[in-house]
Amino acid sequence: MSQLFHLGDRVRVIASHPPGHRRTPYYCRGKIGQIERVCGEHRNPEELAYGFDGMPLRRLYRVRFKQSEIWDQYKGQEHDTVDIDIYEHWLRPA
């Protein structure tokens, strides 16, 4: 499986709200972050949840977001971040 993103790439989480078991939290959907780490390929938990085999494997990334990008009203510091584990099929180039 070819790797779509690399360390430092800017990515946008797709702003989609499909029903079912999803491991991408609502608060980061549609937001832009940066690939912090590439974390290998794993069975897709969104399929495993329903008893399927989770194949094909999905590449997992850690994406770093500035808190101020996620929350309009963030009261902390500009340099604060939240790192989220996100599967490749939820990401698009930004």
Binding site: R23, P45, R62, K75, Q77, H79, D83, D85, Y87
Partner: protein, 234 residues
Amino acid sequence: MVDEDKKDKTDHGHVHDHDDMDSTAHALEHIHDHDRQFQPDIEDEPVKRYELMVYAIRELLLEKGYVTQDEIRKARETLDSWQPSRGAQIVARAWVDPGFKQRLLADGNEAMSDFGVDAGGAKLTVLENTDEVQNVVVCTLCSCYPRAVLGLPPDWYRSKAYRARVVVEPREVLKEFGTDIPDEVTVRVHDSLADLRYLVIPKRPKGTDDWSEEELAAIVTRDSMVGVVNPQVS
């Protein structure tokens, strides 16, 4: 229908003759079951839907011979044996052995195998607190937690309040844990949602340079490895 005759005799439904008793006997006489507070038994709670399903599946697996009662018991015993002291030993080693720390940060599963830790399918990911960064771990969707090194998660970690608030206002939440993070330090929240499990290496406190690995492990608490507090030297 109320028996008027009984009702007249006493408010407890039976008769005392108070005049013949001293005060201790009087007090004892008044201890009735209905005055005591009993601690509820585990089984007193109504059975929830998912508990019922677990019972049903367990019975089926036993009945079909896929597992034995003893295997289930052993699995639970193993799970309960996982304690934060395992994580503390790993952190203490990382503090005293830079080579080990590098391995740990590069590949948690590989380095932790030195301590006999088998995380199953989970990818153990280690984060280091520094003068510049305070790492804090949460699972906003459920309660993903590095059980192989910290045991079962505390109630606060699973609470909705922690899961919802620590991503939105981490500095305020840490303050409530008694941890003040200076403005110049970056607060880095890690939302553990998928196949990764996070362990924080807290900052080694000053004044511990000549401490043994064992002494160091004793000050590494569970909460410090989630990142909500920093180890203290009293």
